[in-house]
């Protein structure tokens, strides 16, 4: 289906626009990234509301993370998270070996320095989804070799 491509293109243009309309100082200090992340946050909130409409209630935090890895990721990116690790103390690492938004960019280390801005929106989405389910968190992402990337979720005690 072509709907995937639509989102990818939109996402790319979103980032492009954010950077184009930013002022010099903003680009340097990461305000653009913050803005993208905030956009993702709001989208995540709405998405989660829709996706969890018919599911049962979650038992605990781990249940929530599993839902994110499986159903949420599938709905948005048409695949699941490949690996979920946790230290059972509030830190979760979601690993996606072929992150859809990066597959078209490169297959190795090329353009690595541009990768962070393409992950900001997704980080925000995850954070927004979690927040709507009652889990306060901080989500960061890192990329070592494209298109694999890791999302790290740190649960905050409220």
């Amino acid at each position: 289906m072509a709907d995937e491509a639509l989102f990818h293109f939109l996402h790319n243009e979103l980032i492009h626009y954010a950077y184009k309309s930013a002022e010099q100082g903003e680009v340097e200090n990461g305000r653009c990234i913050t803005r993208l992340e905030n956009m993702g946050f709001r989208v995540g909130q709405g998405l989660i509301e829709r996706f969890t409409k018919d599911t049962a209630r979650f038992k605990d935090e781990l249940d929530v993370m599993k839902f994110i890895c499986k159903d949420f990721w599938t709905s948005v990116f048409k695949k699941q998270i490949d690996n979920l690790r946790t230290n059972h103390q509030g830190i979760y690492v979601l690993q996606d070996n072929k992150f859809r938004l990066l597959t078209q960019m490169s297959a190795g280390k090329q353009y690595l320095e541009h990768a962070p801005r393409y992950l900001a929106f997704t980080c925000g989405m995850v954070r927004g989804g979690l927040s709507n389910l009652g889990v306060k968190s901080i989500v960061t992402a890192e990329v070592s070799v494209m298109p694999a990337c890791k999302f790290q979720v740190m649960i905050q005690k409220m």
């Binding site: 709001r42 709405g46 509301e49 829709r50 979650f58 709507n132």
Partner: protein, 139 residues
């Protein structure tokens, strides 16, 4: 006939509350407010096997002389409360469930509206219309 429908945010303040008849709405405010205690009790996970933890529909919260209060909690901890007239015994559990379902659907739509900030009171006209339909229809 549903006499009062309320949507409550996860911080326990009302996002939307509407009741008919329009006067004496304070009474319903009180009723819904106190029913929150019961809702919280039901969804707390302190080792109770009484209620099916995984169901969103909470069922009858508590009956009073004139009214029956039903509750429903979404996964995002937003609570819906419907108050129906006790005299209306025709309402089956299923019907109540379907009312909640409709509420949930409409709420999801509101949530996905980019102009709606989560945490604000709900002012969407379509939501209003849906609620009005529910309040008058089930009689």
């Amino acid at each position: 006939m549903a006499v009062c429908i309320a949507v409550i945010a996860k911080e326990n303040y009302p996002l939307y509350i509407r009741s008919i008849p329009a006067e004496n709405k304070l009474k319903f405010h009180y009723m819904v407010h106190t029913s929150l205690d019961v809702v919280e009790e039901k969804i707390s996970t302190v080792g109770k096997a009484l209620v099916d933890q995984r169901e969103l529909y909470l069922g009858l919260l508590y009956p009073t002389e004139d009214y029956k209060v039903y509750g429903y909690v979404t996964n995002s901890k937003v609570k819906f409360v419907i108050v129906v007239d006790s005299s209306n015994t025709a309402l089956r559990d299923n019907e109540i469930r379907s009312m909640f379902r409709k509420l949930h659907n409409s709420y999801t739509d509101v949530m996905c509206n980019p102009f709606y900030n989560p945490g604000d009171t709900i002012q969407s006209k379509s939501f209003d219309t849906m609620v009005s339909g529910m309040m008058l229809q089930a009689c």
